[in-house]
Symmetry: C2
Subunit: 133 residues, 2 copies
DNA sequence: CGGATCGTCAACCATGTGGTTGAATATGCC
DNA sequence: GGCATATTCAACCACATGGTTGACGATCCG
């Protein structure tokens, strides 16, 4: 087993630690990684490629994301594939929407954020969100 | 002016720093404070009352929440009133819903969580979320 | 005025975080 | 086997975070 994520209970109900989820999301590098994984599953080396920092640093970030339950990692051969796990995010989203008083989602705002953040991080995956639909 | 929050641009569109918003939300004390402010505006001393920690510590937490734009503070007499500012939260919510792929909100999950966290402020903060569909 | 209350500030401390580098562990390939 | 690739581990460093305490300015009240 590669991951040691937040484990699901016997009843199959996911247990999410909001401390971990939000502090994982507080880092722009990690949010950029999530944005990349939104496109497709990726190997660790490929995740690290657009960033300036070392592979070890990215590996740590992936560990934090996995502990928070935001991604899962599966080893196939010598490559570890990273996959977005939206359930933990949904838990945070539920919490925030509660405080946001359930107003409708502004999709344009979301795309603006993603573009800004990807640009600012230097992760030049220019096709990340815009063309997909 | 009491606060030095994230300022609104000339166009009146709020500029939200997701780093600040998420790292502010990563602390259970601060989330509990937001939950309290969801009920009503409160004076700093009253905010601090249910917590074990010092007033100075709560004052710091309120500073962090204000810098993130999550609350505002207004001084009236010698009392500083704290008020929830849902706009910054909504920005984070938009971001998260994007990753959550716009699934419907589970209101029951949110209410369960709020009860838990208010009941045990400072304790382990977890929320349960039924698996996706 | 003098004293009590409200809240912050400053200094300090322990621990956590994000990064580095170099060594170590697996796995695939010839 | 032997070497290259993929990823983590361990030690280290600078700095941020969350808490404390004590002093301080501001405000209300008798």
């Amino acid at each position: 087993m590669v991951d040691d994520p937040q484990k699901a209970g016997d009843n199959g109900i996911m247990v999410v630690n909001l401390d971990m989820v939000f502090s994982a999301l507080a880092d722009p590098t990690r949010r950029a990684i999530l944005a990349m994984l939104l496109e497709d599953d990726m190997a660790v080396t490929d995740v690290a490629e657009p960033f300036q920092m070392s592979l070890a640093a990215i590996s740590k970030h992936l560990g934090i994301l996995a502990e928070a339950g935001l991604i899962s990692r599966e080893k196939r051969g010598r490559v570890i594939w990273c996959k977005l796990e939206p359930d933990a995010l949904r838990a945070g989203s539920v919490w925030m929407q509660g405080f946001g008083q359930f107003e409708p989602v502004d999709l344009d705002a979301f795309e603006r954020f993603l573009e800004e953040e990807l640009a600012a991080t230097g992760a030049e995956t220019e096709t990340t969100l815009t063309p997909s639909a």
